[in-house]
């Protein structure tokens, strides 16, 4: 699977016009040839592909074309932990808020708390996150000066808060809507009536009997969401000046920095597989019916 992703990306990149060292001012042909030789770009494509695969298998993602003194391994090694840290915090935060909003909305279906929660959700989904990020900075950092405007400082928590909130917003909204829909459906099920007939309180019925089956759609959504959160968002990283992985991806693609893009794609693919595996395992735990198949 990973090999397939890697191969496709490799040839797609090469199919795109331009090269890593194309600049507005033409280089002298000798220099160009030297550079090409250094990065083995003068060899036939299949040879390059074979070489690249070989080095990936031995754990070396190759040198970066753009950042001359760094290997791709180093660049990812520096930026991945940052993205992971923000992504993980954002995941926990959006899960917590999403669940809370969703449960409130479903418990007060068609009454004002439901309306408020769903308006928040619609705003969250439809507002671009750079708008939310700027608004957060404006209020919390500039106006009230509670938190730093931007920066990273090795991941100190005050620097984390704003990007995490801005990053989570659309995910909170999506999870809240999923939870509300699933919970409303489960609450119509006969087994919820059975639970009520046992003499359980309304809260017990919702949290013990209805919530677990209602979590299933959220769990399936969580896999792709986790990858999206943890591989970094270019916009958020740019606004808050965070040295995450997202910007390498976009810059790498623009600069035709083949090895860097491939490296980032490889990491994303790996995480995608990992999280989907986790989701499947979680699914099994939550829904015993899945087992036999």
């Amino acid at each position: 699977m990973l090999w397939l992703i890697l191969t496709l990306t490799f040839f797609l990149l090469r199919a795109a016009p331009g090269g890593p060292f194309d600049q507005e001012r033409e280089l002298p042909p000798e220099v160009e040839q030297l550079v090409a030789q250094k990065y083995q770009l003068d060899q036939p494509l299949h040879q390059q592909y074979a070489n690249y695969l070989k080095s990936v298998l031995s754990g070396d993602l190759g040198p970066s074309f753009q950042y001359a003194d760094h290997s791709v391994n180093q660049l990812i090694g520096l930026s991945l932990p940052v993205s992971l840290q923000i992504g993980f915090c954002a995941l926990i935060f959006s899960l917590f808020c999403g669940l809370l909003l969703g449960i409130i909305a479903a418990s007060y279906a068609d009454r004002w708390p439901d309306l408020v929660a769903m308006i928040v959700a619609v705003i969250g989904i439809s507002t671009p996150n750079f708008v939310i990020a700027r608004l957060l900075i404006l209020w919390l950092a500039v106006h009230w000066q509670w938190l730093p405007v931007a920066g990273w400082q090795g991941g100190d928590w005050p620097y984390l808060v704003l990007p995490v909130i801005a990053l989570s917003f659309p995910y909170i909204a999506a999870i809240a809507r999923l939870v509300r829909g699933a919970l409303l459906e489960v609450l119509q099920q006969p087994f919820v009536r059975t639970a009520q007939a046992k003499g359980l309180t309304r809260t017990e019925v919702v949290f013990k009997h209805a919530l677990q089956p209602a979590l299933l759609p959220v769990v399936s959504y969580l896999g792709p969401a986790a990858v999206g959160l943890m591989t970094g968002s270019v916009v958020i990283e740019q606004i808050f000046g965070i040295p995450g992985m997202g910007r390498y991806f976009v810059q790498g693609a623009l600069n035709r920095d083949y090895t860097l893009v491939l490296g980032v794609v490889l990491v994303m693919g790996l995480m995608m597989l990992l999280f989907n595996l986790l989701v499947d395992l979680l699914y099994r735990y939550l829904d015993p019916r899945v087992k036999g198949t």
């Binding site: 007939a197 046992k198 829904d287």
Partner: protein
């Protein structure tokens, strides 16, 4: 002491329940009163929508509010009006003093918890048992309700149990705290007749052992004949009759009760057409008597010299059981195992057997809706399995199927008219739209519905009406042969009688040939000329309907016969 015993355990006084929606107010229960004494079993009988389930749910205030609303009435349980009780005290009664068994065992248990946990939960809540003790008690309860190997099954999830076992778990859960009143809402309707009999016997035994009172809700008077001391009959949200069970069965007073009693097919002396409620009561509720013509005994004409329409030879349908990493076939489920029979023109062949005996698969294989593993099906001399796709399509217009659940088989976003039109536009496109629509209107009239309904959607109809629509759709292409797969099993007995009569009328008018699949021998006996009894993929006995019930040869046939509720 005597005073408390004489006081009823539960008395419902002038109960009214309404559902208030945007379309208006629906009166679900209208001025209902009755009592349940200590140790007594009361049967609450009526058809779907008569308000009986709403009554049961109101007792524990389990109806959804809104749209539900109880504007008037009292429900007095041991001196307390349950309708006025604060939520907190009501919860102490729910599951403890009054508990309920619901109709759908498949969906009434939470799919993500072990059954032991679900039973233990009630005990921990009301009896304050420790986790360990409650679990132990849950195991004992499973044993009490007759689940084999309870030590093992207590750790099962609901989907790992059969329908009958699930209903036993529901019962175990309901009796866990030894309630004073057990409310059973159609507890056996979703089950096979043989399982129904076991569950009824279990309820009867438990009632005596625990000396509890019972409110038993059903649409089928036959079910409660042995169980109830007293019967309350509900019709259109009102109580129409209340009497002891013996009185109801010997001389019911209200025409609706008389109709309910008459519409159930009996093993002996069936009339030519089953009597329905409409034979005893006009639309406006006036009593009338069924005409002598309707009471004529059923005489099945001899069809053994008719030409053969369908011939099934050594038919086998196996489903592979795959396992391991590469899904290697380890074994086969023999759903249909070497079955041979013939059906003659104009004849009805009944197929009976319990769930999982292969009768549905057999029906589907004959129509080539399910590939056969080996064997041959000849329809009017044509080998059904050896047809090209185009020929098969043509053949399909001559053979149709009517399923059990008309709601699931009608597209909810298609109007009734379009649903019936669809097969016509496939098979009779050349005829022209105008004429086809006329045909649709004719069909809908033939099945006893008004053509005005053609642009309505399936959800606007009752179960019986939907089944009529499904029949009209099957008839659209003028088939000669129809497989009815449990076509009346999901219907109330009173509606079932109407649909059975309709099927017989249509057979007479169009010379149809049926294969009628059902788990209920009394229904099959009424409609079929010959009956095949199926067990584990094989036809164990095949004979005329009369011989099957008069003189059953196989113990399995006898078992099916015994399972039919008596009470008549």
């Amino acid at each position: 002491m005597t005073e408390t015993i004489q006081q009823p355990l539960l008395s419902i006084n002038n109960l009214c329940v309404e559902f208030r929606t945007q379309q208006g107010v629906t009166q679900a229960v209208d001025d209902l009163s009755f009592e349940i004494k200590h140790g007594q079993t009361v049967g609450l009988v009526g058809e779907s929508g008569s308000g009986k389930s709403v009554t049961a749910l109101s007792i524990l205030r389990l109806i959804q509010e809104p749209p539900g609303c109880i504007p008037a009435g009292q429900i007095v349980f041991e001196g307390q009006d349950l309708l006025q009780l604060p939520e907190k005290q009501l919860r102490k009664i729910r599951g403890n003093d009054i508990s309920m068994v619901f109709q759908e065992p498949m969906t009434s248990l939470n799919p993500v918890f072990r059954v032991g946990y679900q039973i233990a939960e009630v005990l921990r809540l009301h009896k304050k048992l420790s986790k360990k003790k409650a679990w132990q008690r849950a195991t004992e309860l499973l044993d009490l309700v007759g689940i084999p190997d309870p030590q093992k099954r207590v750790r099962f999830y609901p989907h790992e149990l059969s329908g009958g076992q699930k209903q036993r778990v529901m019962i175990a859960m309901a009796i866990a705290c030894e309630p004073k009143l057990l409310i059973c809402d159609e507890p056996t309707t979703a089950l096979d007749v043989t399982i129904q009999k076991q569950v009824l016997a279990l309820l009867q035994r438990l009632q005596q052992e625990l000396s509890m009172s019972m409110l038993f809700i059903t649409h089928d008077l036959g079910v409660i004949a042995d169980l109830a001391d007293e019967v309350v009959v509900m019709y259109r949200s009102r109580k129409v009759e209340q009497a002891t069970t013996a009185e109801i069965f010997s001389h019911a007073k209200h025409p609706y009760s008389q109709g309910l009693l008459a519409c159930r097919p009996k093993l002996h002396d069936n009339p030519k057409r089953l009597l329905t409620v409409a034979d005893f009561m006009s639309e406006s509720g006036e009593a009338r008597q069924p005409s002598a013509e309707q009471l004529q005994p059923q005489i099945k004409s001899d069809k053994s010299h008719n030409p053969v329409l369908l011939e099934v030879n050594n038919l086998k349908t196996y489903f592979p059981i795959r396992s391991g990493l590469f899904g290697r076939v380890k074994a086969h489920v023999k759903a249909v195992d070497d079955v041979s029979f013939t059906v003659r023109k104009g004849e009805t062949l009944g197929l009976v057997g319990e769930s999982g005996c292969g009768k549905t698969t057999l029906g589907r294989t004959i129509l080539n809706l399910q590939p056969a593993s080996s064997g041959q099906v000849l329809f009017d001399g044509v080998d059904v399995f050896a047809q090209t796709a185009a020929n098969m399509r043509q053949l399909r217009s001559r053979m149709q199927i009517i399923f059990q659940d008309p709601f699931a088989t009608l597209n909810p976003r298609m109007t009734i008219g379009h649903a019936i039109m669809e097969p016509l536009s496939i098979h009779h496109a050349a005829v022209g739209k105008q004429q086809n629509w006329q045909r649709v209107a004719e069909l809908i009239e033939q099945v006893g519905l008004n053509p005005d309904i053609l642009n309505r959607y399936p959800h606007e109809f009752s179960g019986g009406q939907r089944q009529r629509i499904a029949i009209a759709r099957a008839l659209a292409v003028n088939p000669e042969f129809i497989v009815c797969d449990e076509s009346v099993s999901a219907l109330d007995v009173s509606v079932q009688a109407q649909v059975l009569n309709l099927l017989l009328d249509l057979q007479e008018q169009h010379g149809l040939t049926y294969i009628f699949i059902s788990h209920d021998l009394s229904v099959v006996n009424f409609i079929a000329d010959r009956v095949g009894v199926m067990n584990q993929g094989k036809i164990v006995e095949l004979n005329t309907a009369e011989e099957i019930y008069r003189n059953p040869q196989k113990p399995y046939t006898q078992k099916l016969l015994d399972a039919i509720p008596k009470g008549f």
